[in-house]
Amino acid sequence: MKKFGRNLLWIATAGVLALGMVACGGKNTTGSSSGSKEEGSTQAGSEQAGTEKAGEKAEAKVEGSNGSFTVGFDQEFPPMGFVGEDGNYTGYDLELAEEVAKRLDLTFVPKPINWDAKDLELNSGNIDCIWNGFGMEGREDSYTFVGPYLANKQVFVVREDSDISSLSDLKGKAVEVQKDSTGLTALNREENKSLKDSFGSLTEVGDYQNAMMDLESGACDAICMDSVVAEYQIKTFKKKAKVLSESLTEEQYGIGFKKGNTELADKVKKTLLEMKEEGVIDKINEKWFGTREGFILQ
């Protein structure tokens, strides 16, 4: 009898918890759009079809079966994607993406992601693409790219009153670079080895905001970053900083899709070219960069 009582306690508590979990899950499902119901059935279907098909099913979802175009971006990356004046997400890339989604008759969903988990997000189908000043260099084999669509340079930013005026002046200086960025990839290349080795130190930081704070406070002497971002930062926030005229490398931005998802990539590319022809892109470029030049998608 005693033993029965104890077992009953175990079962009851476990039951309550299980119910709780189901309730949590259920709440989320009903909370989202009707599209999630479709997904639910897709999911159930793929389970029946066997595990080897599940991967393909996930891909099928990416094609926009739920009628949405989810763009993953780093929300700490002005001017490409960030929180705007009104509290909504804005930026050059997001504006392009929103227009593309509108033309493809898909609901535009900007999804800020943890940049460290971008591959996990993309491959598991949570986002349809990474569209966020995403340098293509060295990543060609990992993604299906649309692009290059925008030219960019990796440059060095120093304090306005700094005595650094060329790459050779960086000798012995404290340099910062964003982790997992094109700048870091470029610095790690063989031809830049002597430059990199000449630095006093090279620190990888989480985001450019931290790097700019370090530069202003004197914690570092130079930042290696995208010229597009550097110029926006200096202009918009009136930073007491300047960009070295000597740049590290030319690079090109692309829109990263899950490897093999050419169907959606082709659609996006076609739409972007249409927009280019109609002059829509010129307007967006002028708004964000003050020039019509720059868009290079062929």
Binding site: C24, G25, E52, K57, K111, D116
Partner: protein, 216 residues
């Protein structure tokens, strides 16, 4: 940007943080008790499994556990995810992690109870269940409340880890606002909000302690 917009965005984040906090506590406190029973179970298989669970939960970063809960189903079992699963994964990750800590706190309380109390209860005709819930647990609660408060306060701050799987809680919002404004102010405001949140938590826990001090 207007400061009202900043506050509004931080408020949105705070709601998410509050949700994680409340749901984690709601489920991990009872689950922790169950885990503590398992840990003290006579059957070595049950107590062994629970020991491994606790050791894993305490021995690996919560951030990694969130990754496992969220991406594991897809990468290990090839089950495709749907957008609503993100929050559920956060809840599951936090509940499992905090239950392990709470379990050890419960165990410290339960095992500190004098053997004589059980014997006295048995002589007075209490069943094991009655003895535990009417005599032992109320005393245990009083003993472990300060340790629980510690964990609860850690939980408030740990909610910021939810961003590892891209959940927009308050600290993430603060960081995004900080880089869009290039200003430290949103971070300081977030700090103040966290402090107020914890101040309220600490105040409530103190009131509970006072209420339970009926024999002192």
């Amino acid at each position: 940007m207007e400061w009202t917009v900043v506050l509004w965005k931080l408020g949105e984040g705070l709601l998410v943080s509050l949700g994680i906090f409340a749901i984690t506590l709601l489920f991990s406190l009872p689950l922790g008790l169950l885990v503590a029973f398992g840990r003290m179970h006579k059957n070595p298989l049950i107590s062994g499994i629970i020991k491994i669970y606790i050791s894993f939960m305490r021995g690996t970063p919560l951030m990694l556990q969130l990754f496992m809960v969220y991406y594991g189903p897809y990468y290990i079992f090839k089950v495709s995810l749907h957008p609503g699963y993100r929050m559920t994964a956060v809840y599951i990750g936090f509940i499992l992690n905090y239950a392990a800590y709470f379990a050890e706190i419960y165990r410290s309380g339960i095992q500190s109870m004098d053997r004589g109390q059980y014997e006295a209860a048995e002589i007075l005709g209490y069943s094991k269940m009655q003895c535990f819930f009417r005599i032992i647990l109320p005393q245990v609660w009083k003993k472990i409340l300060p340790s629980i408060t510690n964990e609860v306060i850690s939980l408030v701050k740990d909610t910021s880890l939810a961003f590892s799987i891209s959940v927009m809680e308050m600290f993430t919002q603060a960081k995004a606002l900080s880089s869009s404004q290039s200003s430290m102010l949103p971070l300081i405001m977030a700090g103040v909000l966290y402090y107020i949140f914890n101040f309220v938590v600490a105040f409530i826990m103190e009131q509970m302690e006072k209420k339970m001090a009926y024999y002192q």
